[in-house]
Amino acid sequence: MLLMDKKVIRFLARMGARGSLGQALFDYAADDNDFFAVSADLAHASGYDRIIKNYPERFVDVGIAEQNLIGVSGGLAKSGIPVVATTWAMFASARVADQVRNFMGYMQLNIKLVGMDSGLIQSRFSYSHANPPDISIMRAIPGIVILSPCDGIEIYKAVYAAMKFKGPVYIRLTGGDLLPIIHRDSDFEFKIGKAITIKEGDDVVFISCGTILSNVLKAADMLENMNISVKIIDMHTISPLDIDILDEISNCKLLVTVEEHLLQGGLGSAIAEYYIQKKIRPQQLMLGVNNIYTQPGTINFVQEKMGLLPEQIVVAVKGKLNII
């Protein structure tokens, strides 16, 4: 494992989401841990180059055949060795839902499925690749841990945690080649199912996951300058949700969930489903993609269309606070 210091934070940010994945897996292998690395013709994109060079016996390329990716991974996992399987997030969810449900959900095979370029990063390829409903689909398959790390160092730690976890995991990677740095202190514990409070505050609570957290941080700065005190929670594990932290904040003035995902079935939806059973629950503002196919364009362009830029988040929050 890399020595966790501020240089590593910057290094992983520069590596990007998939580079951080590849680095984590390479280091995990170098730590003398056994696993298979499988991909659907995306070995280089998955950051597998050094794994292929140093541990070629661990690597399997199934070609552009994502359903076969899960089947082959399932077969390899039956040997008792954990398997990492990578493809684009749209294919890792929408295309292979049946195989994921059977091999990972029902059979609980030890596959760590990585959905790369989730969220809006592939918006230039339009609706076929962008905004995959991966959280919604994975949430509807019982028995799968769902992780959505927010920056390079969290991806690195999430991969280690997922590899050590005995059971199926879906890791959702958002962001592109240069990741924002959200965790500035490398010395934080990543525990599956345990959210991380990034900032304390009293008036408004933000819960988010993935690289969109960077926009939340900027929005929070703007709100603080308007004397609105903001708490920010990194809910990196969407399933199982950290219900302890949800109970802790149930009295807050306003809860804002922000995600680069459909509102339907996403993080905000999961949280709303938890609170609906409770007597005491906060007013919730859900920000994300509201039941449409997003337009093609740069990620900034599409985020703006979806109201996910920092200044737009601020306007939405202020609007809601004026109504409450």
């Binding site: 501020k6 910057r10 590596m15 580079g19 390479f26 950051g47 180059d49």
Partner: protein, 77 residues
């Protein structure tokens, strides 16, 4: 002083000896692959407290070229 920091970034990021640094080019040694490159960039950014543009990161193809690129960031080697 800047030269020392620049050379040290290469030594630490690529895990090479000082004798290998001068005249080194991208992919001339196994350590300076695409992953090593990002480690090197991160080390240089950290050493000089700068953030390099993507085009400059791509263009950074050698020890010498790097010196030229860093001038854009007001770093004289």
């Amino acid at each position: 002083m800047n030269n020392k920091k620049y050379v040290q970034a290469f030594i630490e990021a690529l895990e090479i000896g000082i004798d290998t640094v001068e005249g080194l080019e991208y992919q001339a040694i196994p350590q300076w692959d695409s992953v090593g490159h990002m480690g090197l960039i991160a080390a240089i950014e950290d050493a000089f407290d700068i953030m390099m543009d993507t085009d400059d990161i791509i263009d950074f193809s050698s020890f010498e070229k790097g010196k030229e690129i860093l001038k854009k960031y007001d770093v004289e080697i």
